[in-house]
Every structure is written in C-alpha cells, then in structure tokens.
Amino acid sequence: MAERVGVYICECGPNIKEAVDVGELTIYAQGLESVVLAKPFNLLCSASGQELLSKDIKEHGLTRVVIAACSPKEHEATFEKVLKNAGLNPFLLQVANIREQCAWTIKDKRAATQKAKAMIKAAVNRVIHHEPLEAKEIDCQTDVLVVGSGVAGLSAALTLAQKNRKVYLVEKLPWIGGQVARYEKVFPTLECASCVTAPVLDEVLHHGHTDLMSNSEVEGLTGFYGNFIVKVRKKARLVDLRACIGCGACFEACPVKVKNEFNENMDERHAIYIPFAGALPAVAAIDRKNCLRFKGQVCEACLKACPFAAINYDEKDQLVELKVGAIVLAVGFDLFDARKAPQYSYGKAENIMTAFEFERMLNSTGPTAGKILMKNKKPPKTIAFIHCVGSRVKKFNEHCSGVCCSYLLKFAHMAKEKLPKATVCEFYSDLCLPGKEAQEFCDKVTGKKGIELLHMSGADSIKITVKNNKAFIQYADVSGKNKNKTVDMVVLAPAMQGVKDSKELAKLFDVSLGKAGFFVEENNQLAPVSTTTKGVFIAGCCAGPKDIPASVAQGQAAAGCILLRLVPGEKLTISPRVAVVDSELCSGCKTCLNLCPFKAITYDEKEKQCVVNEVLCRGCGTCVAACPSAAIKARHFTNKQISAEIKGLLE
C-alpha cells in the first residue's frame, strides 16, 4: 500500500518566508511521489500549527509526515508528540532543517530555495522507509546499592531512603562516616565536624529503609541497568552488633597492641577495638590479622571480659546476593604518598607529618587528645604548613585538589588557638580560594598575628631536610630569591587522589578510570554524576577532589537521577533507537564484539551469534557500519533510510 506523506513547510514568521520561495517549495513538494498534501504554515510549532497537523493526520489519513522548518533539535520532540496524540507513531516523522542549515545561511533566495527543495526531497525519500517504533519497557529493581559511607554516600543513601527506596549501604570498614568522621573542625565555618555529621550518621543507622552493611565489600557484579546482581561479602566482625554497647571492657583485656591506622599510626590499639571515641556504630570489631586466635594461639581474653556476651569467635563471613537497579560509587579518596617526593623528607623525620596526621592530632578523640605535640611530647614553637605536596606538578599530579589551601588555613587558625605563642607559616605558590566564603576566611585567618604567608615561586620550589632535629626548609620565593626557614613541625598537604584500589574498583563496576585514580563522569559539563555505564553513578571525591558541600551535592544528585528513573511500579523505558541483530543474517564473525564501548554486544557461544543488549545499547551505530554482513540494523537510522536520504539530496 502506498504511503500518504504530508509535507508541511513552516514560514517561521519572516525567518524562512523571506529567505526561500515558500510557494515554489509547496508546489515542488506536492509533485513528489507519495506526497498527498503539501502546505505552508506561518508558525508550525504554535498551538494552531500543531492543531492543523493533528487534524490533517486524521482527516487525510496521513501515514508519514515531513516538516520543513527549524532544526530537529528545536522541535522534533514537539512534533513527535503531535503525531502520537493524533494516533500516528511518532517515529514516522522526518524534519528537514531549512532554517538553521538553509534559510539563515544562504543570502541568495534562488540558491536557498534550490537547497530547500533537495532537503525536502531527501526527507520525503527517507520518511517512506521509516518504521513505527515502540519504546520498550522492562521491569526494573528500584533498590539501590551505595558503596562507601562518607558524606557523599550518606547523602545519596538518605535522599533515596527518604523517598522510600531500599538502600544497601556497603562500607568496607567496620565504622562509617568516611574521612569527615576523623576531622575536628570543618572550614570555613569552623564548626565541629562531628556535630555536623552526627545527625546524618544517626539517621542512616536507624532509618527503616537503609540496610547498613559495615565491614563488607562488593565482590562481584553482573547484570545491567535496572537489573544488577551484586555479590557482597559481609566480613565477620566477631562481635554481635546488637549486644555490644561499646563499653571497651574487651579492649582493655586484649593482650595484643598494634599501630592504630585510624590515628595514622600515631598511637596504638588492640586487636579488638573501636578506632576512636565516637566512631559509629559504637560496636567493637576483631582485627583478624592481628588477633592471636587467628594466628593459631589460644586466647579468650575479650570473651571473658565482655559483660554482654557479645563476642562470637565462630562467626563466619557471609556472602549475600543483592538485586538492585542502580549503584552509587562513593568510595572517597586517599592522599598522595609523600614518600614518593623525597624533597619533603616525609618518613625521614619525626615531626614531618601529613594533613591526615595533623587532623587526628587536633581531634579531641585522637592520639594526643587534641594537643599539638611533637614526638618528644613537647609543643612546637614553630609550625610550617606546606601546600601542593605532589600537586600541580607534571611529575606527580597536575591537578589542584581545591581544598588544601582552605584546610591549611583552618589548621593555622586552630594551631594558633591551641598554641597562641607559636609562629605559624604557610608555604604556598598560589592560593586556591573558590566559593562564597573562602577568601573572607583566608583574610580573617591571615590577619592574625603570628600567621605568615610565604609565597614560593612554584608548587615544588621547596626542599625540606632535617638539621639538628629541626626541619630546615629551603625555598625559592616568588621573586626567585632563595630563602630558608627552620621550624619544629611540618605539616604537608598532599594531593587528593583516587583510592588505592581504584583500578580494581573501576574494573569491578565497569567505570572509566581517569587521571590520579579518579573515576570519569559521563560528561564533564552536564552529566557529572553518571558514568558511561548506565545505572552506575559516582559521587564525592572518588569522582574528583572536592569539598564537603560539593560531595554532599553529588550524593544527592546521584540519588535524584536514580529516583526519577527507577520508580516502584513503573517500568524502565528504553529508547527504541538502538541496534538490533538479525539472527538469520548474523554469521558470528565477531567483528562487532570489540567495537562497543558500552559492552552492549555479547557472543552467544551456543548459537554462535552476536546479540545486542537493548538496554545497554546507546544507538551510536558504530557496530552497524562495521558489520560485514549488514546483519545489524540501526533502528531509525537504517541503511535504507540513509541511502534514500542521500539520493534525495543529490537529485
């Protein structure tokens, strides 16, 4: 049966009307094969234009529609809706871009009209080969997996839980809160960090929709967007989460003492422990690497000491399988290992430490109960804060972490508060102070007496050595002059980087790994929390260095993206503009398999054929063009359609 094509030429006010001969175009269109009507209209996108279109489709039994108007990027969606409401499949439409790519770029009316004719012919040729397409719907899980319980992960989890989504929050440590739980104060307000995070942590621990799995790690991931299957190993804590109240009787009894990694190895803990006062959940855990029982020795010290019978040596790791629709990766960051930059002598001197160490030192729950002390237990008279360690240099990391200047100023302020007589200096090459309050904060801090800002010529124009038990700092100042300074204590601000196992995580979750171990977002500008793997989102510092509010915002953003797409009771709509393999033509030559960056094509060993997963396919058509049998079809961009379009443009 012959198609009945309706061609509409929009005058777009004067825009198209004055640039091409609309009358001639209408007559030309009318004369084309399969065209049953051709009409000009003043403004097709207007309500009356849409009404006319709708009326004509029904009255004239149009089976295809061509609209010669502005760019399809402007109104293709508008007209698709009109078709749909008029009972015609929305994909039976083709737009000819005679405004942006014709009327607006050709001054000669004759030439513009000729080009418009070719564009209309091409559109008519193409639309005849269009096929009605239906957006596919698949069932989907609406539960979500959040990996990492730092502020980004917590924000994502709570946002989702508050809208009644079940959230599995998997945290590899036995305690939650990420890095912020270890800070004393946060910039620029200098509020107490635990006051800010406490309500959030409390809610996550007690919310009915959050299933917290601490001391757990994701081991396997299969499936795809809407239907992920995640394998989680819940490592045995050996202490009952419900019975233990965190009284600490067990740690005192434990004969083992090891360095406390939560306090950056500045003090010790036992093999059964809570890392610092206030860590949540307030439940002890046994460190199987150091516990005597796991080294073959007999010991029941903690079991005997526990007044609540909370210890269970027989607990085993549990492997659970979760079905979720989406995943938020919020695994945080690690600091650059300053030992890689010997110019700072980190690891070679006792009183040269990193920012994490200094944070713990400042914290009242830390190894020095909040006092700033050198290794000899005396307070320092002079402290140097070194910016850009391993940052902004080609050798280590080119990026700026964006938060160090602010927190080093915070450190300067807190150091002066605790040691009013001390001299504090900041060695910097550029100050990074973005946002509403950072500059003001800087002025406030540096306005104080005893806080010096020393301007270096470059990020790494500095060398620290040890002389007579003090740190001897040699540097080139901004004018290039060589200077030096001797201080008691040095605090280094190393670059923020992706977590140490980011490579393994990237592989496990199928996200791209970028520079410095950070994960790569789908689009730098407009899609900062999604990744090219549909259904896997990234939030917080694992996606790039950022401050706490930005991490929180990303956690909420990722949750938002998930909330709007995975709705209980609703199915997931998949765009039909995807690639489809004709199993009668596919020879299993495997040419296409390696070409898909979204891993949408798999090889069926039994049938010896390639299959495209419609959920993962993005419709780029790369495999379609490569297939030597033309066995893969790109819906809505088929070879037939494009060939017809090419022919029409050249007639």
Binding site: E584, C589, L595, S629, A630
Partner: protein, 320 residues
Amino acid sequence: MSKPKIALYWCSSCGGCEESVVDIAENVLTVRELADIVFWPVALDVKYKDVEAFADNEIAVTLINGSIRMDEQEHMAKLLRRKSQKIIAQGACAHIGGIYGLANLNKKGECLDKAYKEVPSVKNPKGVLPQVKTKDCGRELELPDFHDTVRSLDQVITVDYYIPGCPPNPKYIVEAVLAVLGNKDLPFGYVFAERRSLCHSCHLVDSKPQDSVINKIKRVHEWVWDPEKCFLAQDMICLGPATRGGCEERCIKGNMPCRGCYGPVENVEDQGGKFLSALASIINSNDEKQLKKIAGSFPDIAGFCYRYSLPTSLLKKKVG
C-alpha cells in the same frame, strides 16, 4: 511429450564454470533423464542460428556464465533471454562481475594499449589495435566491439536466479537445474548459496577471539601461519566475514584465506566497501599518522576488497 530444454553459454569466461558443470559427475545422468541440453558451445556444435530458430521461452532454463564485455556476449545474452523461461547467472563473473571486473579500474584505451602494445612479449610494431570493421583481402570483416566496462549479467538482461562462486559449487548447479525443472517456487533473484557469511560455517571461527584486532597486514607470501587459527586473528586478510557461505570452505580447507568469490551477503550493496569497513574498524590504532602508514602498507586495497565484485559495486569503475 518432449523433454524440457536446457542451454548453457559462456561470455567472458575462463572455462572454470564449464568444468564445474562437468564436476556434477554422475548427476549428469539425472539431468539427462529430465531434460535435453540444446546449446552448449564448449561441448556441442550447435550454431547461433539454431538458437535464433527457437521460439520465445522455448528453453526452460539457460545457465550463462562469464561477464559481459563484448558485443557478441551482449547479443547472445539478450537472445537467450528471449528464448528462455528462466536465466540463471552461473559463477562469479555472471553474478557479480568476476575477476575481469578489476579491469574497470582502467580505461578501455589503457587496457587495449597494454594488451596490444605494451606487454613485453607482444610484437606489434605498427601498433595495430582491434577494430570493429576492417578490410582484408578485399573483404570486410567484423569483430565484436570491446565495451568500455565489464558488466555482470544482470546489468545487461534480467536474471532469475544466481549460482555464485569462482568456480561455483557443483552441488548448487544440480540443485538449481532440478529446482527449475521441478517448477519449484523460488523468489526472483534467489541466490543458490547460504544466507549468512562464510564465518558461520567456517571451522576456524571458534579459534577467533572475541577481541580480535588487526595490528598490521601480513600477506600470504610473507610468512607461514597457523593453519588451525582464524586468518583475521593472525593479521591476515580473509574476506570470509563479508562473503556468502555455501562454498563448503574450499579455500579455508586448503589453508588459504577467503577471497570473496561468492559475493556479498544480501542487503549489502557494496561488498568491497563493507569489507573495508569491517577490516578498518578492527585495526588496532586510533592515531592518524599510524593509520595512514597502515593504509599505505596495502599495495592494492581495491584489488582485494573488490576482487570479484567491482562491476556490481556502487562505483563500478574508475570514476575520475
């Protein structure tokens, strides 16, 4: 009642298609029982005027092999079309133009000059080229004209069915003839081969990894390859993925890569272009300079992409 008639004719042909008819072996007895072979220049001394004497559609089926480049061939193809109910294009030349089709990369004049003047072993001091009409000993002689380009059979007459291959597989010759004589209902343009490309039936496809890439091109005279491994997985050009199956992998079993003689899979307009796309897509480089170098290492890309199919490709011949 007399038996239905079968005819066979050859145009620009090497004779291999005739050999494949002979290769149907004892099946010729079955055919002989069902039909009379009334015209077969390689084997029977039937004249053109005898063919002209047949009524229209008197011949049940004619198998024509060879491509068309001479007036005589075009004339006979058209004559046989009139006299036959069904025409089957037999062999790669009739089906898709064949190896002769590569001559389309040169102009007619260049071909004649080469053959009659430039080839070292030719002695033609006066530079005489064949003419359509010439006088000799007081008589006028006529020779069929040599066309500008090589064409496939269906570019000259309508063709009902095709038996591809260079040479074709004898089993399909039998199948086709019996199908027509048995009045089997086949769609116009039916191709007696498999629908899927050669990889589907190739015994080496399992050895092809899923992440196969091409690093550089290795040619058959340059090294000794692993006979148990897919050619493309060893950086060797094999047109299997872009070529119809049905040949029972004769070349692969002979430890040589496929050269594309069965023509493209249906829906592919241009076998060479499609193969080029598939091959290029799996080249292991994204660097412009390196890609240019790799492209430069191919001595004759058109030659191996379009070895059999140039006349039926999109461009068909040298255009510029």
